[in-house]
Symmetry: C2
Subunit: 216 residues, 2 copies
């Protein structure tokens, strides 16, 4: 399946096969695909809790305002963004050095520059965590589509209840949940999209007004 096919075939699924399971190896493959997404300084802010066990799914369903798909799907991936991910830059630089991309001096400079960019800027670090985790989520959903698995991204849940019940350190911002598994019949067809010309200024220039059509 090529990229554009996967983009067109993915729908946000609400109905799942309630007796299906997703193997641990498949989960690992999808998480590895998600981690291929880019992040500033290769910080890799995304982290993942995967909820598969029935009692845990029931707890997550309550956190998600009772939404049935969380109970029904073989798994739900809780996508987190690490607000303090830049702290890991020395490790990330060391691995790039081991892979032959940096010498020791360059690795140290890379880690120091990346950490300096976030020092005293918690809002930037929070926005970055959302950006990186969202790009990783998109990568995960497309890889799942290619494996024949349905997905459903969700923001309708209580992040405080999630953090409390799943004992999340406050550094991990819940960015979204993604239900995951073989689909059941009865999902919505794909919803129509705005056309490219409605959301695009194809030759933007400074000093000109840039409006999108339809405006509202």
């Amino acid at each position: 399946m090529n990229v554009r096919d996967a983009l067109r075939r993915r729908v946000s699924a609400n109905r799942y096969d309630t007796v299906a399971t997703v193997a641990a190896g498949t989960i690992e493959e999808l998480i590895a695909a998600a981690m291929e997404a880019p992040s500033a300084y290769n910080i890799q802010h995304a982290r993942f809790l995967v909820v598969r066990e029935p009692e845990a799914r029931a707890a997550l369903q309550r956190i998600a305002h009772g939404q049935q798909k969380v109970r029904d799907a073989a798994a739900t991936v809780v996508v987190l963004g690490d607000r303090r991910a830049a702290e890991r830059l020395p490790l990330i630089a060391e691995r790039a050095q081991r892979a032959g991309l940096f010498d020791a001096t360059a690795a140290a400079a890379f880690a120091a520059n990346g950490q300096a960019a976030y020092a005293g800027r918690p809002e930037l670090a929070r926005d970055e965590a959302i950006r990186s985790a969202s790009m990783a989520a998109m990568a995960l959903m497309l890889a799942a589509t290619e494996l024949g698995l349905a997905t459903g991204p969700m923001i309708g849940f209580d992040p405080l209840a999630l953090a409390r019940e799943f004992r999340l350190d406050e550094r991990y911002l819940p960015v979204m949940m993604i239900t995951l598994g073989p689909a059941a019949p009865g999902n919505w067809p794909r919803k129509p999209r705005l056309a490219a010309h409605e959301v695009l200024v194809a030759d933007a220039r400074p000093g000109q007004d840039h409006a999108f059509s339809p405006a509202a």
Copy 2:
């Protein structure tokens, strides 16, 4: 090219063919691919300014702290997130109705429910704009990879200068820039990623501690 191949082949490119161009039709195709990304209530928060003309590229380079790749790449896509995108839900619901997904009553309820979810919650609307635009950006980069074009996501730019010089309404939050075009030789190889087991809890349960390894 399948999805996982595209994920593994994409690198954040800094070096671009300085005389190449990207056709308007290709830009439209990539924006259409980006719009296939999901968004809550299908709100479709992402908007795009594409900067191709040499003088405009020079202006954008200054906004991006002088980064050469913005001058060199055939195009740079400024990915925006509309903080007030929920205002367009009646239009989006009407199009879903025309596509046969809703009757008139369901379309009205869909638009009203979506708008109610964001009423008086500007922080939620802002976070959503970042999430949706980031997922759209990932889709765009993978579609570009499939077309043989290099991309480089960037957050190193001055968003206030961008808004001022490109006369952006404050509703449009700059989420990232993506340099785009045929690559020149000399780009970095792919940077190594954390392994799935380092970023994943594969069977998360309430009441248990969830730590990632290495922790920092």
